[in-house]
Symmetry: C2
Subunit: 360 residues, 2 copies
């Protein structure tokens, strides 16, 4: 069913208030989920609420905790999220980095003891609003099988890169693996098949049953038991098509997050501390040239690419095109929510005394 | 045939001296090619000498020119290579960035009016020798077809990321596309087939004839004519396996190089200025934690990954494992050079009065 984005926001803010988040934190948290649903990234929208709520019950996430700066230089920040929500620590950190980058040309930060932060693109877009380049990454639960491996170790390790452009910013935002677990979760919730080579079993054979994969990933990610299989690296099943490049990209994010922040590796978040780490960078492109010129040049390049000869019946889309189109459409038609998520919202709404919005 | 790395170096230095490079520039240029051949990256070794020599004749590359700093802040550099060789401008820039990063925690640079710079990893490894993280990227001639496109636009846009580790640094180094054009060139020179889904024709059908692909790429990259087809983005032929992520990665490099440096796009280097742009970054990880601890932690992680359960008959290799193994082996057994490259070396040796080294 579809509900209005505004109704989704009110529902979420009321739930987060009942869950003891302060008003500012609850508003940010709600905004990140509504924003994802508006952009058609439903894997990172309100369908995560049920998981977030379970995290509070498990005390992996503490709604009243606040992030704090552990170490700081003119160009860097090390932040301890103190088990606050990833969105809260990330918003806090990005705002500080934007100020630093405006003064110093560029700045970077790592966060430890953090949680899931929603879409990576949310924070890189914050930088973009100031004419700055934003980079945003996180490690995750263990999900991804390295090249030739039969078991998961890496996280899906999202990476976002945003650059000012017209008519909308360039927003590259996604898991470094073939897909995020959220994308498989959404298919499983809808009872649909996996259409590509996304996940493998303990023998590295490709699986297409989304529910089976989702169950397996759930065991890997949320228990001490590590059955084989998991999500593939970008490049797919075989070395011959350079899947070690996707593996390398995922490893780089693992280094920038868990290693630099001295938090847990994705591989170890299934037990113990369950902490995630994040890495952010902000770059001021105007140290190299006039921002208006750079923006015009990059926008021209995108237009040329959009108009290249292409396969009949397809479109060439620049990263961001799809999500800004969905954003405009969903602001009018409402955000689409699957039946299983609606059921979860009803249970949570009941527990916290918050009515679920009516269908549009 | 195989020749000793030392003999390769002497041959190259003598040729570069005859080509009017000064001794320091010639030595650096030779070192980058010998280093690539030692590491088994023959696509970026001495087999490029013939192309480099043609670039001088076409005045795309000017051996006596030197790079200069156009714009500088405490954390950034904009360098004009002045048509000097990519290696020379890149070495010059990386040395300055290393000093800046030691003072400021991180620093970045772009170079314009540059040329091919060899392997991206050479410069990121320079940072690693100082306990710093190195990032190194370049745009290239147009070679790569965006998602759904039938014609090339992007470069193969190499990206290297290096992090201090034991027993050797983590060195991720490669084209953002499925493969570099050099890899196809090497197969064509050997008369071998393309083993995977690397390149497509004007209808986006996969091609396996390396010579046919090499001829097509040559036309695309070196003439005003743009026949269809080219190299695929990482993720392969179809959107369903997220080839738009490989496309996005390539676009990010295009933005960081041609756009930020205000040089040509890869798409436009086939005609006119033929200039490439590079982007570099150096990060001091010790602003976040003790370097010895970080190095130990990352090395532990790599060891855990190397020992994951894996497909029988395969190995799990961390980026850098293969090239450091080749380096040690080739230092003893000599570097392997294909027959066509030997013939090119003979012609060049004759033209400049430099004898070609004997086979080991």
């Amino acid at each position: 069913m579809r509900i209005s984005a505004e109704a989704e926001r009110q529902f979420l803010e009321a739930v987060f208030k009942a869950q003891q988040f302060n008003a500012q934190d609850g508003a940010l948290l709600a905004d990140t989920l509504v924003d994802a649903d508006l952009r058609g990234i439903s894997s990172h929208g309100i369908q995560r609420l049920d998981w977030y709520t379970r995290m509070m019950k498990d005390h992996v996430l503490e709604p009243t905790h606040q992030p704090e700066v552990v170490k700081e230089t003119a160009t860097s920040l090390l932040v301890d999220a103190n088990k606050s929500m990833g969105q809260i620590a990330s918003g806090f950190t990005m705002n500080k980095l934007i100020e630093k980058a405006k003064k110093m040309g560029l700045a970077m930060a790592v966060i430890r003891n953090s949680n899931h932060f929603g879409t990576a693109g949310y924070y890189s877009r914050m930088a973009c609003k100031h004419g700055l380049i934003g980079i945003s990454t996180t490690n995750t639960r263990p999900l991804v099988v390295p090249t030739n491996a039969l078991e998961a170790f890496l996280g899906s390790n999202a990476f976002a890169f945003t650059f000012p452009a017209k008519p909308h910013p360039f927003v590259f935002d996604g898991a470094t693996s073939v897909v995020s677990s959220g994308k498989i979760q959404v298919l499983a919730k809808k009872g649909e098949k996996i259409p590509g080579d996304w996940a493998v079993d303990e023998n590295r054979h490709v699986l297409h049953d989304a529910q089976k994969v989702e169950d397996n990933l759930g065991t890997i990610a949320f228990s001490a038991h590590r059955p084989g299989g998991g999500v593939l690296t970008l490049g797919g099943q075989d070395e011959v098509n350079s899947n070690y490049k996707g593996f390398g990209n995922s490893l780089i994010i693992e280094i920038l997050t868990g290693i630099l922040a001295q938090g847990s590796l994705s591989a170890d978040t299934n037990v113990g501390k369950h902490d995630f780490s994040q890495f952010f960078m902000v770059i001021d492109p105007s140290v190299f040239g006039d921002l208006d010129v750079l923006t015009a040049n990059v926008s021209d390049m995108f237009d040329r690419i959009r108009h290249l000869k292409h396969l009949p019946g397809t479109k060439i889309m620049i990263p961001g095109d799809r999500e800004y189109k969905h954003y405009d459409e969903n602001l009018v038609q409402g955000v689409s929510i699957d039946d299983k998520t609606i059921a979860e919202m009803q249970a949570i709404g009941q527990a916290y005394g918050v009515p679920v919005p009516a269908a549009l």
